[in-house]
Symmetry: C2
Subunit: 170 residues, 2 copies
DNA sequence: CAAGATATGTCAACATGACTGTCCCAATTT
DNA sequence: AAATTGGGACAGTCATGTTGACATATCTTG
């Protein structure tokens, strides 16, 4: 598995700050791509065994993270159409992993919850992600983790940051 | 776009190191998901205009990064089947963005290159990613960038790290 | 040199998870 | 009462992955 290496596309005769910057940008793009791929790959085995895909995992994850989440809020988190989410939620409900309840303050809302089996499945999937992330944290150290978060927050458009931050707060 | 916030799944009565750790793990998972999504979203507009998808972008990116890359090495980088890659490469070649040459040391190999229009398209796509990444780097600072890389490297299985590192070296 | 392994390509069928567009109902807001 | 919002459903399409089987050219090895 050797990849032949070539010079980057634009190769200045002498190293310049601009060259260094492009190399650092490319390093970030590539590590983000491979790191993300590596993180989700572990869960795929479990999902395949259960007959689900990554879309089901994402729904399970956010419902576990915020029990009682409304369908609309889940749609905004996932940034997909309600038709796409509808199929996923129907399948999860058909398998008895997710239930709905009617919103107390707004009876139009359907609030999503995991059943016991749904919680068990999500916990198994989370354990997979956790193992990889905890190992990476431990290897990199706490100050690296802070930097890791800071760059990722910087990648998220300002108007979307509140959405992500809201998950971590009470 | 307000997301109702609930307590995390397992909520200890008092904050414990274990609770803090789970919260930090979840923060990493979520930021990685949203950060990755944010990075690729910018390029989607250009891709849609050209009639291509993310699979085409990934192929263009790695061919631009390592001109003369062989089909097999690209397959190992993308970790997909040759049938999937074959369709993408055929489309890129049909649009005149990619050409092949025969390997000098091994005539079975097909080495991939971008044409002038392929380079122009890849450059436009790269500029999109670069804008977001450079802004995030600037916002977070250089030491954060180092930590960002360190955690992502830690996520990648040890046996795959050489593949990624090989892209940056000569 | 013959045999096997490797690099690549192709045909066919299929699964997942997105999309658009349209229509519907119930509940809330104005 | 009318308009908006939250949610659901039906139909069709597209992008991108998968398996499996097979073909061809080239390289490597006994």
């Amino acid at each position: 598995m050797t990849v032949p290496i070539s010079r980057p596309r634009s190769t200045p005769a002498i190293a310049s700050p601009l060259f260094l910057r492009e190399d650092e940008i490319r390093r970030g793009i590539e590590l983000l791509y491979f790191g993300y791929s590596a993180m989700v790959r572990g869960a795929d085995t479990i999902l395949a065994r259960e007959g689900f895909g990554r879309a089901h995992h994402r729904a399970l994850y956010f419902i576990a993270r915020s029990p009682g989440l409304s369908v609309g809020d889940l749609l905004r988190l996932l940034a997909i159409t309600k038709q796409s989410l509808g199929r996923v939620l129907n399948e999860l409900q058909a398998h008895g992993h997710v239930t709905q309840s009617i919103g107390a303050s707004d009876r139009r809302q359907r609030l999503l919850h995991l059943t016991a089996t749904g919680q068990a499945l999500e916990a198994a999937l989370f354990a997979e992600l956790e193992a990889g992330m905890a190992a990476a944290y431990g290897e990199a150290g706490q100050s690296a983790v802070t930097g890791f978060w800071a760059v990722l927050v910087g990648l998220i458009p300002a108007e979307d940051r509140a959405l992500v931050a809201g998950l971590s707060q009470g």
